[in-house]
């Protein structure tokens, strides 16, 4: 896919996700050819779609498709998904309210499956990583506008260095996480460690964004009348899906101790 096509795809997806969410979006994406895109251009389709879910605040059960596709199974269904702490969840393809902190997501706890096929974690983690950094960008954008528009002591909040540095710190975390995601997409062969690290970096970046942006937004960001809380809830819930940033970081540490050496994953 050339850059112009990628651009067009991103524009189309953005429009679709701005107009619809949940079940309606799920169906609209099938209309747009999501299954073919996933099969033919996964390295463009997955980052673009998941990043835009984050940026627009929409949701759709696309993670199921990414995992089913990676497992070579038919798209359109669901499968039990591992969650932090050894829990399991299912992401339903309906508009029923879920039972997690982010009730907008049709996500509910289920008992641990007995046996069954292994979940292809790498592809799912990479996709969720893009969603998490997209959420971080959405939060940063809200906090940035607030800092520029809100006047206190006769000057915009954005003129205070303490505020500026929080937002700078947020951008550093997000840009760093995206670099790990890009490196994970580009690597061939077994990239499970790259995807694990990318999900950990992205989860960490989204939580960093949540912390700094909530602080910059002050009181208004704590109300349910402002949009921030939706992003914060979603970041917390998605961070735990397929392993939280804390768990994945520890898992990387276990591997390091076992190998007694730190794998160098990207090369010039």
């Amino acid at each position: 896919m050339d850059p112009a096509d990628s651009e067009l795809l991103a524009e189309t997806l953005r429009k679709t996700m701005t107009a619809a969410s949940g079940r309606v979006l799920d169906m609209a994406l099938v209309e747009l050819g999501w299954p073919d895109l996933l099969a033919e251009f996964p390295d463009v389709a997955i980052p673009t779609a998941f990043r835009l879910l984050g940026e627009t605040g929409a949701h759709a059960p696309l993670l199921n498709d990414v995992l089913l596709s990676a497992a070579g199974r038919r798209l359109g269904g669901t499968l039990p998904l591992p969650y932090a702490g050894g829990s399991w969840v299912v992401w339903d393809r309906c508009d029923q309210a879920g039972t997690t902190l982010d009730a907008d997501l049709p996500l509910r706890s289920v008992p641990a499956p007995l046996g069954g096929e292994p979940v292809p974690l790498a592809a799912g983690r990479r996709a969720l990583g893009w969603w998490l950094t997209g959420l971080g960008r959405a939060m940063l954008s809200l906090a940035r506008s607030h800092a520029l528009n809100r006047i206190q002591f006769g000057r915009p909040l954005a003129s205070f260095q303490a505020v500026r540095h929080r937002l700078a710190e947020t951008l550093v975390a997000l840009d760093g996480a995206e670099a790990t995601l890009l490196a994970a997409s580009a690597s061939e062969g077994d990239n499970s460690l790259g995807c694990l690290l990318a999900k950990a970096a992205a989860g960490h970046a989204a939580l960093t964004a949540a912390r700094h942006c909530q602080q910059v937004l002050g009181g208004i960001g704590f109300t349910a009348e402002h949009g921030l809380h939706r992003h914060v809830r979603r970041a917390l819930v998605l961070d735990g899906l397929l392993g939280s940033s804390g768990e994945l970081t520890r898992e990387a540490g276990v591997l390091l101790r076992k190998e007694r050496s730190a794998p160098r994953l990207v090369h010039l």
């Binding site: 940035r144 490196a183 950990a200 101790r257 994953l265």
Partner: protein, 368 residues
Amino acid sequence: MNVTEFRAGVCAWLAEHDLSPGPDHSLDGQVAQLARVRRALFDAGWIRYGWPAEVGGLGGPAVLRAVLGEEVATRDLAEPGIYSMVEVLAPTMISYARPPLAAEMVPRLLSGSEQWCQGFSEPGSGSDLASLATRAVPVKGDGEVDGDWVVTGQKVWTSLAQYSARCVLLTRTAPGHGGITAFFVDMDTPGITVRPLRTMHGVDEFAEVFFDDVVVPGDRMLGRPGDGWRLATALLPYERSTCFWHRIAYLYTRLDRLLAETAIPDEAALGSAYLALHTVRCRSHATQRRLAEGERLGPETSVDKVLLATAEQQLYDTARELLPGAVELTETPWRSEYLYSRAATIYGGTAEIQRNIIARRLLSLGRD
């Protein structure tokens, strides 16, 4: 020559030519080792790749220099900070020196026959570099650019000044950013005094340099009068790409060393230190790629700088935690390296200046 061939060639050559440092870890020893490594790599040709033929190079893409530095750092052949100084000094000469001067001088730097230093910071001009006050005055008055200039003032944090034959020096010739002019100064010129600074990590690599009526020929001016600020900002992309790649490779070797030495199974701390290193490696890799594609690097490299400084300090904090007493009780390299890592958020533009740049230029938050 492409990266794969080059790396294979370098590795094969290094396997046959042992350049491991001797037992002398003093600064004198480090500088002598650096000269030895450069000489050998110059004679074998490796360090000439990635530089243009006009200055004694063998051509090829600049990324080859990043690859060579990575292999040098991975084997601990030279301290990466002083090894990488070439990356900012040589491009400055190539872009701003008169071509015959660059052709004469750059090979001396690459081959290790000379060390050079960079006279930028001053006692009154740290983060606010553009306020520098070391004066250069033309001897014969205005208009005669090629005549002699007289330099008076003081520089500080000048790395390796006590070993250097030349100095890329920023001076004040007129008010404001447009009044900064750079010179290439011979360090044996009468009127120059060098006083090494004692540092807390025990390696006195920085010095104060005093200039008392130092006469510099006009043909040693780098660029035109007033080009100095442009010169200083133009070298940032080199400092933030190839130098960073070398340093990251070095930090990976220190994480390996920590893994080999620690008996404390703190997987969270080890994983977190590794994640920070992996993140800056991925970021720096993307920056290298952009450089290779001919993109102009700019304020976004402040992100690389913050990631690197943060990862470096986190790594050494973790080492101190997981090797209890290694920094405080014993005289291992961990002590000196731990202490040096404290400077990572200060040199090359403080962490605060980087965040100011990110806020202003990348987030468009307006003036502070």
